[in-house]
Protein backbone atom coordinates (compact mmCIF):
# COMPACT_ATOMS: atom_id res chain seq x y z
CA UNK A 1 0.00 0.00 0.00
CA UNK A 2 1.28 3.39 -0.94
CA UNK A 3 1.02 5.86 1.92
CA UNK A 4 -0.73 9.19 1.70
CA UNK A 5 2.59 10.85 2.40
CA UNK A 6 4.19 9.10 -0.59
CA UNK A 7 1.36 10.23 -2.86
CA UNK A 8 1.81 13.82 -1.69
CA UNK A 9 5.56 13.58 -2.26
CA UNK A 10 5.16 12.25 -5.80
CA UNK A 11 2.52 14.89 -6.54
CA UNK A 12 4.86 17.58 -5.30
CA UNK A 13 7.72 16.25 -7.45
CA UNK A 14 5.40 16.47 -10.46
CA UNK A 15 4.28 19.95 -9.35
CA UNK A 16 0.65 18.79 -9.12
CA UNK A 17 -1.61 20.48 -6.64
CA UNK A 18 -4.06 17.75 -5.56
CA UNK A 19 -7.06 18.07 -3.27
CA UNK A 20 -7.47 15.58 -0.40
CA UNK A 21 -10.07 13.70 -2.46
CA UNK A 22 -7.69 13.49 -5.39
CA UNK A 23 -4.87 12.29 -3.14
CA UNK A 24 -7.05 9.41 -2.04
CA UNK A 25 -8.13 8.61 -5.59
CA UNK A 26 -4.56 8.70 -6.89
CA UNK A 27 -3.46 6.50 -4.00
CA UNK A 28 -5.94 3.85 -5.07
CA UNK A 29 -4.88 4.07 -8.71
CA UNK A 30 -1.17 3.97 -7.89
CA UNK A 31 -1.80 0.91 -5.72
CA UNK A 32 -3.38 -0.84 -8.71
CA UNK A 33 -0.28 -0.10 -10.79
CA UNK A 34 2.05 -1.31 -8.05
CA UNK A 35 -0.01 -4.49 -7.71
CA UNK A 36 0.44 -5.21 -11.41
CA UNK A 37 4.19 -4.77 -11.04
CA UNK A 38 4.21 -7.08 -8.04
CA UNK A 39 2.48 -9.69 -10.22
CA UNK A 40 5.25 -9.44 -12.82
CA UNK A 41 7.80 -9.80 -10.04
CA UNK A 42 6.39 -13.23 -9.21
CA UNK A 43 7.82 -14.52 -12.49
CA UNK A 44 11.38 -15.73 -12.81
CA UNK A 45 12.85 -13.14 -15.16
CA UNK A 46 16.52 -13.71 -14.41
CA UNK A 47 17.29 -14.48 -18.06
CA UNK A 48 15.14 -11.74 -19.55
CA UNK A 49 17.03 -8.54 -20.38
CA UNK A 50 15.37 -5.33 -19.24
CA UNK A 51 13.24 -3.75 -21.93
CA UNK A 52 13.44 0.00 -22.29
CA UNK A 53 11.35 0.13 -25.43
CA UNK A 54 8.80 -2.16 -27.08
CA UNK A 55 10.29 -1.66 -30.56
CA UNK A 56 12.85 -4.23 -31.48
CA UNK A 57 15.14 -1.59 -32.94
CA UNK A 58 18.38 0.15 -32.02
CA UNK A 59 20.71 2.83 -33.42
CA UNK A 60 18.13 5.16 -34.87
CA UNK A 61 20.33 8.15 -35.52
CA UNK A 62 20.36 11.25 -37.68
CA UNK A 63 23.30 12.86 -39.44
CA UNK A 64 24.74 16.03 -37.96
CA UNK A 65 23.07 18.33 -40.47
CA UNK A 66 21.05 21.45 -39.74
CA UNK A 67 17.30 21.27 -40.24
CA UNK A 68 14.74 24.07 -40.43
CA UNK A 69 14.41 26.07 -37.23
CA UNK A 70 11.64 28.27 -35.88
CA UNK A 71 12.00 31.98 -36.41
CA UNK A 72 12.58 34.05 -33.29
CA UNK A 73 9.03 35.41 -33.55
CA UNK A 74 7.49 31.94 -33.93
CA UNK A 75 9.43 30.63 -30.95
CA UNK A 76 8.57 33.58 -28.72
CA UNK A 77 4.90 33.63 -29.75
CA UNK A 78 4.47 30.61 -27.49
CA UNK A 79 6.11 32.21 -24.45
CA UNK A 80 3.81 32.61 -21.44
CA UNK A 81 5.31 36.08 -21.05
CA UNK A 82 8.00 37.79 -23.03
CA UNK A 83 10.64 40.34 -22.05
CA UNK A 84 12.53 41.65 -25.09
CA UNK A 85 13.60 38.52 -26.98
CA UNK A 86 13.56 36.24 -23.96
CA UNK A 87 11.01 33.84 -22.47
CA UNK A 88 9.87 35.13 -19.10
CA UNK A 89 8.81 32.53 -16.55
CA UNK A 90 8.29 32.48 -12.79
CA UNK A 91 11.45 31.98 -10.82
CA UNK A 92 12.11 28.58 -9.28
CA UNK A 93 14.34 28.30 -6.22
Amino acid sequence: MISEEQVRHVANLARLGLSDDEIEKMGTQLDAILDSIEKIRELDLADVPPTANPLNLSNVLRSDEPRPELSQEEALSMAPERVDDLFAVPRID
Partner: protein, 485 residues
Protein backbone atom coordinates in the same frame (compact mmCIF):
# COMPACT_ATOMS: atom_id res chain seq x y z
CA UNK B 1 52.65 21.00 28.81
CA UNK B 2 50.52 18.87 26.57
CA UNK B 3 52.14 17.74 23.41
CA UNK B 4 49.67 17.98 20.59
CA UNK B 5 50.05 15.49 17.81
CA UNK B 6 50.48 17.23 14.48
CA UNK B 7 47.79 15.97 12.19
CA UNK B 8 48.58 15.78 8.52
CA UNK B 9 45.84 16.79 6.16
CA UNK B 10 45.55 14.98 2.87
CA UNK B 11 43.17 16.29 0.27
CA UNK B 12 40.91 13.92 -1.65
CA UNK B 13 39.63 15.53 -4.85
CA UNK B 14 37.45 14.25 -7.66
CA UNK B 15 36.45 16.32 -10.68
CA UNK B 16 33.36 16.38 -12.84
CA UNK B 17 33.47 17.99 -16.27
CA UNK B 18 30.73 19.09 -18.63
CA UNK B 19 31.93 19.44 -22.19
CA UNK B 20 30.13 20.77 -25.27
CA UNK B 21 30.73 18.40 -28.17
CA UNK B 22 32.02 19.86 -31.43
CA UNK B 23 28.93 19.11 -33.50
CA UNK B 24 27.14 21.36 -35.97
CA UNK B 25 23.70 20.62 -34.55
CA UNK B 26 22.10 19.86 -31.20
CA UNK B 27 21.94 16.48 -29.46
CA UNK B 28 18.39 15.49 -30.34
CA UNK B 29 17.30 17.95 -33.03
CA UNK B 30 18.73 19.64 -36.12
CA UNK B 31 19.02 23.15 -34.67
CA UNK B 32 22.44 24.72 -35.01
CA UNK B 33 24.78 24.93 -32.03
CA UNK B 34 25.81 28.59 -31.83
CA UNK B 35 27.56 31.01 -29.49
CA UNK B 36 26.73 34.68 -29.12
CA UNK B 37 23.75 34.71 -31.51
CA UNK B 38 20.60 36.76 -30.74
CA UNK B 39 18.48 34.92 -28.15
CA UNK B 40 15.94 32.30 -29.20
CA UNK B 41 16.98 32.23 -32.86
CA UNK B 42 18.01 28.53 -32.95
CA UNK B 43 15.09 26.53 -31.64
CA UNK B 44 12.48 24.02 -32.78
CA UNK B 45 9.63 22.08 -31.15
CA UNK B 46 12.10 19.42 -29.90
CA UNK B 47 14.47 21.72 -27.99
CA UNK B 48 11.59 23.90 -26.79
CA UNK B 49 9.94 20.82 -25.33
CA UNK B 50 6.68 21.11 -27.23
CA UNK B 51 4.25 18.24 -26.54
CA UNK B 52 4.55 15.45 -29.08
CA UNK B 53 7.91 16.50 -30.49
CA UNK B 54 10.29 13.55 -30.64
CA UNK B 55 14.07 13.52 -30.19
CA UNK B 56 16.45 11.76 -32.62
CA UNK B 57 20.06 11.24 -31.54
CA UNK B 58 22.87 13.01 -33.40
CA UNK B 59 25.22 10.31 -34.73
CA UNK B 60 28.22 12.65 -34.62
CA UNK B 61 27.70 13.18 -30.88
CA UNK B 62 27.79 9.41 -30.34
CA UNK B 63 31.01 9.15 -32.36
CA UNK B 64 32.65 11.95 -30.40
CA UNK B 65 31.57 10.36 -27.11
CA UNK B 66 33.15 7.05 -28.12
CA UNK B 67 36.35 8.76 -29.29
CA UNK B 68 36.63 10.74 -26.05
CA UNK B 69 36.15 7.52 -24.10
CA UNK B 70 38.82 5.71 -26.10
CA UNK B 71 41.23 8.62 -25.65
CA UNK B 72 40.65 8.33 -21.90
CA UNK B 73 41.28 4.58 -21.94
CA UNK B 74 37.66 3.77 -21.12
CA UNK B 75 35.62 0.69 -21.94
CA UNK B 76 32.96 1.53 -24.49
CA UNK B 77 29.60 -0.04 -23.70
CA UNK B 78 28.05 -2.41 -26.22
CA UNK B 79 24.61 -1.20 -25.22
CA UNK B 80 23.75 2.36 -24.24
CA UNK B 81 20.39 3.57 -22.95
CA UNK B 82 19.34 7.19 -22.58
CA UNK B 83 17.45 8.06 -19.40
CA UNK B 84 15.23 10.87 -18.22
CA UNK B 85 16.50 12.88 -15.28
CA UNK B 86 13.41 14.56 -13.89
CA UNK B 87 13.45 17.97 -12.24
CA UNK B 88 11.82 21.34 -12.67
CA UNK B 89 13.85 24.35 -13.61
CA UNK B 90 13.08 27.26 -15.92
CA UNK B 91 15.93 26.38 -18.30
CA UNK B 92 14.61 22.84 -18.80
CA UNK B 93 11.42 23.05 -20.87
CA UNK B 94 10.48 19.35 -20.83
CA UNK B 95 10.69 18.97 -17.05
CA UNK B 96 13.47 16.42 -17.58
CA UNK B 97 16.93 16.29 -19.08
CA UNK B 98 17.77 13.44 -21.44
CA UNK B 99 20.92 11.92 -19.99
CA UNK B 100 22.40 8.49 -19.37
CA UNK B 101 22.19 6.72 -16.06
CA UNK B 102 22.94 3.06 -15.46
CA UNK B 103 24.03 2.27 -19.02
CA UNK B 104 26.41 5.14 -19.91
CA UNK B 105 28.43 5.11 -23.10
CA UNK B 106 31.85 4.71 -21.42
CA UNK B 107 33.20 3.58 -18.05
CA UNK B 108 36.45 2.79 -16.28
CA UNK B 109 39.26 4.78 -17.89
CA UNK B 110 42.17 6.86 -16.73
CA UNK B 111 44.46 9.70 -17.67
CA UNK B 112 48.05 10.27 -16.63
CA UNK B 113 48.88 13.71 -15.36
CA UNK B 114 52.25 15.36 -14.87
CA UNK B 115 52.25 17.34 -11.62
CA UNK B 116 55.05 19.11 -9.77
CA UNK B 117 55.22 16.04 -7.52
CA UNK B 118 55.53 13.60 -10.40
CA UNK B 119 53.18 11.65 -12.59
CA UNK B 120 49.82 10.62 -11.19
CA UNK B 121 47.12 8.40 -12.68
CA UNK B 122 43.58 9.70 -12.32
CA UNK B 123 40.80 7.17 -12.83
CA UNK B 124 37.78 8.00 -14.99
CA UNK B 125 34.64 6.60 -13.39
CA UNK B 126 32.30 7.22 -16.27
CA UNK B 127 31.56 9.33 -19.31
CA UNK B 128 28.06 9.90 -20.58
CA UNK B 129 26.12 11.89 -23.15
CA UNK B 130 23.29 14.29 -22.40
CA UNK B 131 21.77 17.59 -23.49
CA UNK B 132 22.66 21.00 -22.08
CA UNK B 133 20.02 23.21 -20.49
CA UNK B 134 19.02 26.60 -21.88
CA UNK B 135 20.58 29.81 -20.60
CA UNK B 136 18.87 31.25 -17.58
CA UNK B 137 18.99 34.94 -16.73
CA UNK B 138 17.81 35.46 -13.17
CA UNK B 139 16.12 38.75 -12.48
CA UNK B 140 15.63 40.12 -9.02
CA UNK B 141 12.83 42.38 -7.78
CA UNK B 142 14.59 45.37 -9.28
CA UNK B 143 14.72 43.68 -12.68
CA UNK B 144 12.62 44.21 -15.75
CA UNK B 145 9.81 41.87 -14.80
CA UNK B 146 7.53 44.72 -13.73
CA UNK B 147 7.31 43.87 -10.10
CA UNK B 148 7.25 40.09 -10.37
CA UNK B 149 10.30 37.95 -9.67
CA UNK B 150 11.32 35.64 -12.47
CA UNK B 151 13.74 34.15 -14.95
CA UNK B 152 14.45 35.10 -18.53
CA UNK B 153 15.38 32.27 -20.84
CA UNK B 154 17.37 32.02 -24.07
CA UNK B 155 16.82 28.55 -25.57
CA UNK B 156 19.67 28.71 -28.11
CA UNK B 157 21.91 26.63 -25.82
CA UNK B 158 19.12 24.24 -24.84
CA UNK B 159 19.81 20.80 -26.28
CA UNK B 160 23.51 21.36 -27.07
CA UNK B 161 25.31 17.98 -27.02
CA UNK B 162 26.99 17.66 -23.67
CA UNK B 163 29.41 15.06 -22.34
CA UNK B 164 29.81 14.54 -18.62
CA UNK B 165 33.11 13.08 -17.44
CA UNK B 166 33.54 12.03 -13.81
CA UNK B 167 36.94 11.19 -12.31
CA UNK B 168 37.70 8.97 -9.35
CA UNK B 169 38.72 10.85 -6.16
CA UNK B 170 42.37 10.23 -7.03
CA UNK B 171 43.61 13.80 -7.05
CA UNK B 172 45.82 14.75 -4.09
CA UNK B 173 46.06 18.53 -4.31
CA UNK B 174 44.52 21.66 -5.86
CA UNK B 175 47.57 22.01 -8.08
CA UNK B 176 47.12 18.43 -9.32
CA UNK B 177 43.42 19.18 -9.93
CA UNK B 178 44.37 22.06 -12.19
CA UNK B 179 46.92 19.88 -14.01
CA UNK B 180 44.30 17.14 -14.44
CA UNK B 181 41.79 19.60 -15.87
CA UNK B 182 44.42 20.94 -18.26
CA UNK B 183 45.44 17.48 -19.38
CA UNK B 184 41.82 16.51 -20.01
CA UNK B 185 41.24 19.68 -21.99
CA UNK B 186 44.29 18.98 -24.15
CA UNK B 187 43.14 15.42 -24.82
CA UNK B 188 39.65 16.59 -25.81
CA UNK B 189 41.08 19.26 -28.09
CA UNK B 190 43.59 16.84 -29.60
CA UNK B 191 40.85 14.37 -30.46
CA UNK B 192 38.63 17.16 -31.79
CA UNK B 193 35.84 16.20 -29.40
CA UNK B 194 35.41 19.78 -28.24
CA UNK B 195 37.01 23.17 -28.61
CA UNK B 196 36.79 23.20 -24.81
CA UNK B 197 36.76 27.01 -24.65
CA UNK B 198 35.90 27.83 -21.04
CA UNK B 199 34.98 31.40 -21.89
CA UNK B 200 32.26 30.13 -24.20
CA UNK B 201 31.07 27.72 -21.53
CA UNK B 202 32.16 24.74 -23.63
CA UNK B 203 34.00 23.26 -20.67
CA UNK B 204 32.77 23.55 -17.10
CA UNK B 205 34.22 21.95 -14.01
CA UNK B 206 32.86 20.96 -10.59
CA UNK B 207 34.97 19.45 -7.82
CA UNK B 208 34.23 17.12 -4.92
CA UNK B 209 36.64 17.69 -2.10
CA UNK B 210 37.28 16.28 1.34
CA UNK B 211 40.09 15.81 3.81
CA UNK B 212 41.11 12.24 4.53
CA UNK B 213 40.42 11.07 8.08
CA UNK B 214 43.37 10.02 10.28
CA UNK B 215 42.35 6.37 9.82
CA UNK B 216 42.59 6.76 6.03
CA UNK B 217 38.87 6.80 5.31
CA UNK B 218 37.29 9.63 3.33
CA UNK B 219 36.03 12.65 5.23
CA UNK B 220 32.73 14.34 4.45
CA UNK B 221 32.93 15.85 1.00
CA UNK B 222 31.64 19.14 -0.26
CA UNK B 223 30.94 20.04 -3.86
CA UNK B 224 32.44 23.13 -5.46
CA UNK B 225 30.29 24.16 -8.41
CA UNK B 226 30.87 25.57 -11.83
CA UNK B 227 34.32 27.04 -11.75
CA UNK B 228 34.82 28.78 -15.05
CA UNK B 229 38.61 28.75 -15.25
CA UNK B 230 41.22 26.23 -14.18
CA UNK B 231 42.98 28.93 -12.18
CA UNK B 232 39.80 29.30 -10.14
CA UNK B 233 39.53 25.51 -9.82
CA UNK B 234 42.90 25.54 -8.09
CA UNK B 235 42.24 28.65 -6.00
CA UNK B 236 38.72 27.56 -5.08
CA UNK B 237 40.02 24.18 -3.90
CA UNK B 238 42.81 25.79 -1.88
CA UNK B 239 40.26 28.00 -0.17
CA UNK B 240 37.77 25.20 0.45
CA UNK B 241 40.46 22.92 1.91
CA UNK B 242 41.46 25.75 4.26
CA UNK B 243 37.84 26.11 5.32
CA UNK B 244 37.48 22.38 5.98
CA UNK B 245 40.76 22.28 7.88
CA UNK B 246 39.71 25.21 10.09
CA UNK B 247 36.45 23.41 10.91
CA UNK B 248 38.29 20.17 11.74
CA UNK B 249 40.97 21.91 13.82
CA UNK B 250 38.38 23.69 15.89
CA UNK B 251 36.79 20.32 16.60
CA UNK B 252 33.84 20.84 14.27
CA UNK B 253 32.34 18.64 11.59
CA UNK B 254 32.27 19.31 7.86
CA UNK B 255 28.71 19.30 6.53
CA UNK B 256 27.97 17.83 3.14
CA UNK B 257 27.03 20.81 1.04
CA UNK B 258 27.30 22.54 -2.33
CA UNK B 259 29.46 25.63 -2.57
CA UNK B 260 30.26 28.35 -5.02
CA UNK B 261 33.70 29.94 -5.24
CA UNK B 262 33.82 33.70 -5.68
CA UNK B 263 37.19 34.67 -7.18
CA UNK B 264 36.59 38.38 -6.43
CA UNK B 265 36.58 37.84 -2.67
CA UNK B 266 38.47 34.51 -2.65
CA UNK B 267 35.67 33.00 -0.56
CA UNK B 268 33.36 30.03 -0.86
CA UNK B 269 29.64 30.51 -0.33
CA UNK B 270 27.06 27.88 0.37
CA UNK B 271 24.42 27.62 -2.35
CA UNK B 272 20.85 27.39 -1.25
CA UNK B 273 20.05 23.72 -1.46
CA UNK B 274 17.29 22.77 -3.86
CA UNK B 275 14.50 20.87 -2.19
CA UNK B 276 14.24 17.34 -3.58
CA UNK B 277 17.23 18.16 -5.73
CA UNK B 278 18.37 14.57 -5.64
CA UNK B 279 15.06 12.89 -6.30
CA UNK B 280 15.59 12.69 -10.04
CA UNK B 281 13.56 9.49 -10.62
CA UNK B 282 15.68 8.35 -13.55
CA UNK B 283 14.00 5.99 -15.97
CA UNK B 284 14.79 4.83 -19.53
CA UNK B 285 13.85 7.47 -22.10
CA UNK B 286 10.90 5.90 -23.98
CA UNK B 287 11.26 8.29 -26.93
CA UNK B 288 14.73 7.00 -27.84
CA UNK B 289 15.95 3.56 -28.81
CA UNK B 290 19.02 1.95 -27.27
CA UNK B 291 22.38 2.29 -28.99
CA UNK B 292 24.25 -0.88 -29.84
CA UNK B 293 27.89 -0.17 -30.45
CA UNK B 294 29.61 -3.04 -32.22
CA UNK B 295 33.28 -3.81 -31.63
CA UNK B 296 33.90 -3.04 -35.33
CA UNK B 297 32.33 0.41 -34.99
CA UNK B 298 34.42 1.15 -31.90
CA UNK B 299 37.60 -0.13 -33.59
CA UNK B 300 36.95 2.05 -36.61
CA UNK B 301 36.62 5.15 -34.44
CA UNK B 302 39.72 4.13 -32.47
CA UNK B 303 41.68 4.05 -35.71
CA UNK B 304 40.69 7.67 -36.34
CA UNK B 305 42.16 8.91 -33.06
CA UNK B 306 44.99 11.37 -33.67
CA UNK B 307 48.20 11.35 -31.66
CA UNK B 308 47.31 11.97 -28.01
CA UNK B 309 49.33 14.20 -25.67
CA UNK B 310 50.90 11.17 -23.92
CA UNK B 311 51.96 9.63 -27.20
CA UNK B 312 53.27 12.96 -28.40
CA UNK B 313 55.31 13.33 -25.22
CA UNK B 314 56.89 9.93 -25.76
CA UNK B 315 57.66 10.83 -29.37
CA UNK B 316 59.22 14.17 -28.40
CA UNK B 317 61.65 12.45 -26.03
CA UNK B 318 62.51 9.90 -28.71
CA UNK B 319 62.58 12.06 -31.82
CA UNK B 320 64.08 15.26 -30.41
CA UNK B 321 66.06 13.84 -27.49
CA UNK B 322 64.24 16.01 -24.96
CA UNK B 323 63.88 15.23 -21.27
CA UNK B 324 60.47 13.98 -20.17
CA UNK B 325 59.99 17.25 -18.32
CA UNK B 326 60.71 19.46 -21.34
CA UNK B 327 58.62 17.24 -23.61
CA UNK B 328 55.82 17.42 -21.02
CA UNK B 329 55.92 21.21 -20.95
CA UNK B 330 55.82 21.45 -24.75
CA UNK B 331 53.09 18.85 -25.29
CA UNK B 332 50.87 20.18 -22.48
CA UNK B 333 49.67 22.75 -25.01
CA UNK B 334 48.88 21.43 -28.45
CA UNK B 335 49.47 24.75 -30.20
CA UNK B 336 52.80 25.19 -28.44
CA UNK B 337 53.77 21.65 -29.48
CA UNK B 338 52.96 22.42 -33.11
CA UNK B 339 54.97 25.65 -32.87
CA UNK B 340 57.89 23.70 -31.43
CA UNK B 341 57.80 21.09 -34.17
CA UNK B 342 57.88 23.77 -36.85
CA UNK B 343 60.99 25.27 -35.23
CA UNK B 344 62.72 21.98 -34.37
CA UNK B 345 62.47 20.93 -38.02
CA UNK B 346 64.89 23.73 -38.95
CA UNK B 347 67.25 24.19 -36.01
CA UNK B 348 68.79 22.20 -33.15
CA UNK B 349 65.77 20.64 -31.33
CA UNK B 350 67.32 21.17 -27.88
CA UNK B 351 67.99 24.83 -28.55
CA UNK B 352 64.46 25.14 -29.83
CA UNK B 353 63.14 23.50 -26.66
CA UNK B 354 65.18 25.80 -24.41
CA UNK B 355 63.92 28.90 -26.15
CA UNK B 356 60.29 27.84 -26.47
CA UNK B 357 59.68 26.06 -23.17
CA UNK B 358 61.83 28.62 -21.35
CA UNK B 359 61.95 32.19 -22.63
CA UNK B 360 58.94 32.22 -24.93
CA UNK B 361 56.68 30.42 -22.46
CA UNK B 362 57.75 32.84 -19.72
CA UNK B 363 56.64 35.73 -21.93
CA UNK B 364 53.33 33.99 -22.61
CA UNK B 365 52.77 33.35 -18.91
CA UNK B 366 53.60 36.95 -18.00
CA UNK B 367 51.06 38.30 -20.45
CA UNK B 368 48.51 35.52 -20.00
CA UNK B 369 48.58 34.90 -23.76
CA UNK B 370 48.31 31.67 -25.73
CA UNK B 371 50.86 30.93 -28.41
CA UNK B 372 48.08 31.32 -30.99
CA UNK B 373 47.55 34.96 -29.91
CA UNK B 374 51.25 35.71 -29.88
CA UNK B 375 53.00 37.71 -32.60
CA UNK B 376 56.04 35.44 -32.53
CA UNK B 377 56.04 33.00 -35.44
CA UNK B 378 58.05 29.80 -35.82
CA UNK B 379 59.97 31.70 -38.54
CA UNK B 380 60.98 34.35 -35.99
CA UNK B 381 62.15 31.70 -33.56
CA UNK B 382 64.20 29.92 -36.22
CA UNK B 383 65.81 33.19 -37.28
CA UNK B 384 66.63 34.10 -33.69
CA UNK B 385 68.21 30.74 -32.90
CA UNK B 386 70.28 30.97 -36.10
CA UNK B 387 71.45 34.48 -35.16
CA UNK B 388 72.68 33.13 -31.82
CA UNK B 389 74.20 30.03 -33.43
CA UNK B 390 76.21 32.06 -35.90
CA UNK B 391 77.45 34.37 -33.13
CA UNK B 392 75.75 37.42 -34.63
CA UNK B 393 73.76 37.96 -31.43
CA UNK B 394 74.79 36.97 -27.90
CA UNK B 395 72.51 34.71 -25.87
CA UNK B 396 71.65 37.50 -23.47
CA UNK B 397 70.99 40.04 -26.22
CA UNK B 398 68.85 37.44 -27.97
CA UNK B 399 66.57 37.39 -24.95
CA UNK B 400 66.03 41.11 -25.33
CA UNK B 401 65.42 40.60 -29.04
CA UNK B 402 62.78 37.96 -28.32
CA UNK B 403 61.03 40.33 -25.92
CA UNK B 404 60.87 42.99 -28.65
CA UNK B 405 59.71 40.49 -31.30
CA UNK B 406 57.02 39.37 -28.85
CA UNK B 407 55.92 42.97 -28.37
CA UNK B 408 56.04 44.20 -31.94
CA UNK B 409 55.89 41.18 -34.23
CA UNK B 410 58.94 42.52 -36.10
CA UNK B 411 61.52 40.03 -37.36
CA UNK B 412 64.51 39.35 -35.07
CA UNK B 413 67.00 40.79 -37.58
CA UNK B 414 64.96 43.98 -37.87
CA UNK B 415 64.97 44.28 -34.08
CA UNK B 416 68.73 43.62 -33.89
CA UNK B 417 69.34 46.29 -36.50
CA UNK B 418 67.07 48.88 -34.92
CA UNK B 419 68.17 48.35 -31.33
CA UNK B 420 71.86 47.92 -32.11
CA UNK B 421 71.93 44.52 -30.45
CA UNK B 422 74.38 42.81 -32.82
CA UNK B 423 77.29 41.00 -31.17
CA UNK B 424 80.48 42.94 -30.95
CA UNK B 425 82.71 41.77 -33.80
CA UNK B 426 85.84 39.80 -32.89
CA UNK B 427 88.35 42.61 -33.59
CA UNK B 428 86.32 45.06 -31.61
CA UNK B 429 85.82 42.54 -28.83
CA UNK B 430 89.53 41.87 -28.66
CA UNK B 431 90.06 45.61 -28.15
CA UNK B 432 87.48 45.76 -25.36
CA UNK B 433 89.13 42.79 -23.63
CA UNK B 434 92.54 44.53 -23.85
CA UNK B 435 91.02 47.65 -22.31
CA UNK B 436 89.48 45.64 -19.47
CA UNK B 437 92.90 44.08 -18.75
CA UNK B 438 94.74 47.38 -18.67
CA UNK B 439 92.01 49.04 -16.59
CA UNK B 440 92.18 46.28 -13.98
CA UNK B 441 95.90 45.41 -13.68
CA UNK B 442 95.65 43.82 -10.21
CA UNK B 443 92.89 41.41 -11.19
CA UNK B 444 94.67 40.64 -14.48
CA UNK B 445 97.85 39.81 -12.54
CA UNK B 446 95.97 37.46 -10.23
CA UNK B 447 94.55 35.61 -13.23
CA UNK B 448 98.04 35.32 -14.70
CA UNK B 449 99.10 33.76 -11.42
CA UNK B 450 96.41 31.13 -11.81
CA UNK B 451 93.58 32.60 -9.72
CA UNK B 452 90.71 31.58 -11.99
CA UNK B 453 88.03 32.98 -9.70
CA UNK B 454 88.83 36.51 -10.77
CA UNK B 455 88.15 35.75 -14.44
CA UNK B 456 84.46 36.19 -13.83
CA UNK B 457 85.05 39.73 -12.65
CA UNK B 458 86.91 40.60 -15.84
CA UNK B 459 84.25 38.93 -18.00
CA UNK B 460 81.73 41.10 -16.21
CA UNK B 461 83.72 44.24 -17.01
CA UNK B 462 83.83 43.34 -20.70
CA UNK B 463 80.10 42.53 -20.78
CA UNK B 464 79.38 45.87 -19.15
CA UNK B 465 81.51 47.68 -21.72
CA UNK B 466 79.67 45.96 -24.58
CA UNK B 467 76.25 46.44 -22.92
CA UNK B 468 75.77 42.71 -22.93
CA UNK B 469 76.27 42.36 -26.67
CA UNK B 470 79.14 39.93 -26.42
CA UNK B 471 79.12 36.19 -26.01
CA UNK B 472 80.20 35.43 -22.42
CA UNK B 473 81.97 32.19 -23.34
CA UNK B 474 83.92 33.87 -26.11
CA UNK B 475 84.96 36.73 -23.75
CA UNK B 476 86.24 34.20 -21.22
CA UNK B 477 88.24 32.39 -23.90
CA UNK B 478 89.81 35.64 -25.10
CA UNK B 479 90.72 36.67 -21.56
CA UNK B 480 92.35 33.32 -20.80
CA UNK B 481 94.24 33.45 -24.07
CA UNK B 482 95.54 36.95 -23.49
CA UNK B 483 96.45 36.29 -19.87
CA UNK B 484 98.16 33.03 -20.81
CA UNK B 485 96.26 31.19 -18.14
Amino acid sequence: MEVQERRTYTAVIGLEFHVHLATTTKMFCGCRVTYGEPPNTHTCPVCLGHPGALPVTNEKAVELGVMAGLALNCDVAERVVFARKNYFYPDLPKGYQISQYDEPICTGGHLDVLTSEGRIRVGITRLHLEEDAAKNVHVGTSGRMHGSVGSLIDFNRGGTPLMEIVTEPDIPSPEAARATANQLKEILRAVGVSEADMEKGQLRCDANVSIRNPDGSFGTKTELKNMNSFRFVERGLVRELERQREILESGGRVEQTTLHYDPETDEVHELRSKEYAHDYRYFPEPDLLPLELSPAYVRELGAQLPELPDQMLARFTRQYGLSEYDAGVLTADRDLAAFYEAVAAEVDPKQASNWISGDLRALLNETGMDISDSRVTPGHMIELIELVGSGKVSRSAARTVLGKVFETGDSPSAVVEREGLASVGSDELSGVVDEAISANPDEAERVRNGDKKVVGFLVGQVMKATRGNADGGRVRELLMEKLGS
